[in-house]
Amino acid sequence: MLSVAVEKRFADFTIAAKFEAADGVTALFGPSGSGKTSIINMVAGLVTPDRGRVSSNGTLLFDSEGVNVPPHRRGIGYVFQDGRLFPHMTVRQNLDYGRRMRRLTHDAAAQARIVDLLDIARLLERRPAHLSGGERQRIAIGRALLMGPQLLLLDEPLASLDAARKREIFPYLLKLRDETAIPMIYVSHHAAEVKRIATTIVRVENGCVTGIGGSELLDTEDADALI
């Protein structure tokens, strides 16, 4: 269970968000520029809130009274909108990076399962420059999973892809939800994606949480559109 209550003032914009995320997929849903990415950056530890608390499964990650666990010790996987694969490493090295940095023992079975789940076995020896956008995003998901995260943050993982690539990736995300037990925070401004993947929806507008619930928070017409 992730529990978030954070405030942060930016130059032209203020975030004041409070929500909890249980197991399954919690979608942070709202228009572009509403502060969704800033909120998960605070969960990851990449951005420091001015005030508030962040805790995960009873472990305090941030408290403005003096606790601030750095990102590399939070054990939170992060799939960025733009992939951010390391260009100087092969796909295999990218996938193995989190495990090496966290000094976890090599788990060949776990690796094979995720490689299989994401269908990336034939890409392992390639470099990111030689991958399509959809392939890159699958590797980014695999890389975050293989660090053994207690929570996975996905920041608009489909936004940089064209419609065909979105339809290529989305089934993998649904498989991820159904076949792994890792809780996920899924950031999106796309109602149809959110309707199909989320177990809980947190609606974010102008930096504030304006609703928590199910698909009744979504505009029906948008939500039933094609992905």
């Binding site: 990102p71 992060y78 390391f86």
Partner: protein
């Protein structure tokens, strides 16, 4: 047949040793400083940046004189280093290496800083979330991606060290076999009536070494570039 006299060989080998030592010793300091200047904001950053670049714009004789005052036998730093570590700079080849390193330092830092600034900080953040601490992020992401710039900076520093004249001669004089580099030897030969041939030979050697360094660095940088973005 082109051949050098023993004295000329001594100057050539000494120059190479001084330039290599100056570059290699300056490198870790250069990388650390370049990283600080590229990624950190702090009070006095502009001043630090200015001080680093000072040898580039000061008359070399001034830099040499300042080195003499601070790193000479009776200088504050020189006396301390001599008494505690037994490191002596004055009138030794180590002093020449120090002078060359100081003169090449701005070029080294500048090239590395630019290449670190060109590394996408978003990749560093991604590595951070994957469990790498600050040092590992630097060692596994920033440094390899900045490698072409580091090579370029090393070549510039090496070239500067090889050609350095003013600061070196002011700080450690022009002693054959100890501090007489190619540049100093050429200067000496041009001051002697029958020195033209010797000066000419050393000029050729200087051109040759510089060309090899340039072509070699180009090759290394291209290889590093291929490793980063190709195959």
């Amino acid at each position: 047949m082109f051949s050098l006299t023993p004295d000329e060989w001594t100057a050539v080998l000494l120059s190479l040793r001084i330039a290599v030592v100056a570059t290699v010793v300056a490198l870790p300091f250069g990388i650390a400083l370049a990283w600080v200047l590229a990624r950190k904001n702090f009070w006095g950053k502009a001043l630090l940046d200015g001080i680093v670049h000072l040898p580039l714009v000061l008359p070399p004789v001034v830099t040499g004189y300042l080195l003499l005052i601070w790193f000479g036998r009776r200088g504050v730093i020189g006396a301390f280093l001599a008494d505690t570590f037994g490191i002596v700079f004055s009138f030794r080849w180590t002093g020449a290496a120090l002078a060359c390193g100081v003169m090449g330092f701005p070029l080294l830092v500048r090239a590395i800083r630019l290449s670190i600034e060109a590394v996408d900080a978003k990749l560093e953040n991604a590595a951070w979330t994957l469990g790498a601490n600050r040092f590992l992020v630097f060692a596994t992401v920033t440094l390899p991606l900045a490698l072409p710039g580091i090579i370029a900076g090393m070549v510039l520093c090496f070239a500067k060290a090889l050609g350095e004249f003013g600061a070196t001669i002011t700080f450690v004089s022009n002693i054959p076999g100890e501090t007489q580099t190619i540049s100093a030897a050429i200067y000496t030969y041009t001051q002697t009536p029958s020195g033209d041939a010797a000066a000419g030979r050393l000029v050729l050697v200087a051109i040759l070494i510089s060309l090899i360094a340039l072509i070699g660095s180009e090759w290394l940088a291209r290889r590093a570039g291929v490793r980063l973005h190709g195959g």
